[in-house]
């Protein structure tokens, strides 16, 4: 069903010219966000890294692997993989799946 090839009317060069500056800016935003965490007043150790920040770092590897469907795979990696409905006590959504079994940081 998917038809990813040649479905955008822009040429490669046109797409780069149109979108490069916008996404350059977004990448620098992410870098500055990580720098900001380094300057946080309580100087929390990386071993206690928030699961959302860890999830962002993990997702970044998808951008570098040269494979297609990057947006879909980033979203899947941030998603809760479980299948059963939860009880009312579950915490609110945070934007990144928090598996308690995944919390041990090397």
């Amino acid at each position: 069903m998917t038809n990813p090839r040649s479905s955008c009317p822009m040429t490669y060069r046109q797409a780069v010219d149109t979108y490069f500056l916008e996404h350059r800016s977004k990448l620098i935003d992410v870098a500055a966000f990580l720098d900001r965490l380094d300057r946080a007043s309580d100087q929390q150790k990386p071993a206690q890294e928030d699961h959302r920040v860890a999830a962002l770092r993990n997702a970044m590897s998808i951008l570098l692997d040269g494979q297609p469907d990057r947006a879909k795979r980033v979203l899947e990696q941030l998603s809760d993989p479980s299948r059963s409905p939860t009880d009312t006590t579950s915490p609110p959504a945070s934007g990144a799946h928090h598996d308690t079994q995944d919390q041990t940081t090397p």
């Binding site: 822009m10 979108y19 409905p85 959504a93 799946h97």
Partner: protein, 271 residues
């Protein structure tokens, strides 16, 4: 160029928004019943809300040449209270014959809880009994993938729902494929800082090139933009998509889904 916004909460928007949308080419909106940002304290609160959706908003829209349609339900967030939810479900049939009611929505899941799923199944059954179209809300963040799967399973379990009469909203790159594969329509919600940007929605249209894809603003009381559908049209034009493709995505596709309900009569041409 004319367009339809098939998911927008006009009760939370100003009359100036209606005016701007009309100037941008909006010819029709459909407004699902949703969570108002606070929990209503009684079923009577929903009675007033349903009357607002079926009496007051249509006249406010008509003053700007926009056709207003709506969807009724108990929203997933307030469905956690089973007693309240069932009282509200009991009130809905009395409203279904009103001229601007297209179906049941936006039902679905919010936190993927057992109670939400029970009420979702009961409202799918309500739609089936009354032969109504269905509009579905999916969760917003890391719970969207799981919620979408649970919703698709619940519709399938009912066994009597024509999948082409169901629009599943807030689809993103990781859920749109499974929604289309199940035979449903997929809606992409254009939000400034969650869900889809206009750019990503157009990426999805380019990737799937499917007639069962629509876009909406889901404009509401939070950060949202009631003009995001025309923004997506501009994005399509900027990339060089032709006028026909843009009209399909923002006018003919939603009109085809909504037109499955006889009450949906567009006063304008589909060109």
């Amino acid at each position: 160029m004319n367009y339809i916004d098939p998911h927008i909460h006009m009760v939370s928007r100003t009359t100036d928004d209606y005016q701007r949308m009309a100037m941008a080419g909006c010819v029709a909106v459909t407004e699902p019943a949703f969570w108002a940002g606070f929990d209503r304290v009684s079923p009577q609160g929903f009675d007033g809300y349903f009357r607002q959706l079926t009496e007051f908003e249509p006249s406010r829209a008509a003053a700007h040449g926009i056709d207003h349609y709506c969807w009724l339900c108990i929203n997933p967030k307030e469905a956690q209270d089973l007693t309240l939810a069932r009282e509200v479900i009991g009130m809905i049939p009395a409203f279904l014959d009103r001229p601007n009611v297209l179906g049941i929505g936006e039902i679905g899941l919010n936190k993927n809880t057992k109670n939400e799923l029970i009420i979702l199944e009961e409202q799918i059954a309500l739609a089936q009994r009354h032969d109504q179209l269905i509009l579905v809300h999916t969760p917003h963040l890391e719970d969207k993938l799981k919620g979408t799967r649970l919703i698709l399973d619940a519709i399938r379990r009912n066994g009597s729902i024509d999948p082409a009469r169901v629009l599943i909203d807030h689809a993103e790159e990781h859920t749109v494929g499974m929604i289309l594969d199940a035979g449903h329509w997929a809606g992409m919600t254009l939000y400034p800082d969650s869900k889809c940007t206009p750019q990503r929605a157009v990426d999805i249209i380019e990737t799937y090139s499917h007639h069962r894809l629509v876009m909406n603003s889901a404009g509401d009381w939070g950060h949202s933009d009631p003009l995001s559908v025309p923004q997506a049209r501009m994005e399509m034009a900027r990339r060089g998509h032709n006028r026909d493709t843009i009209t399909d995505a923002t006018l003919r596709n939603p009109a085809a889904f909504l037109g499955q309900c006889d009450k949906f009569q567009l006063q304008t041409s589909l060109d």
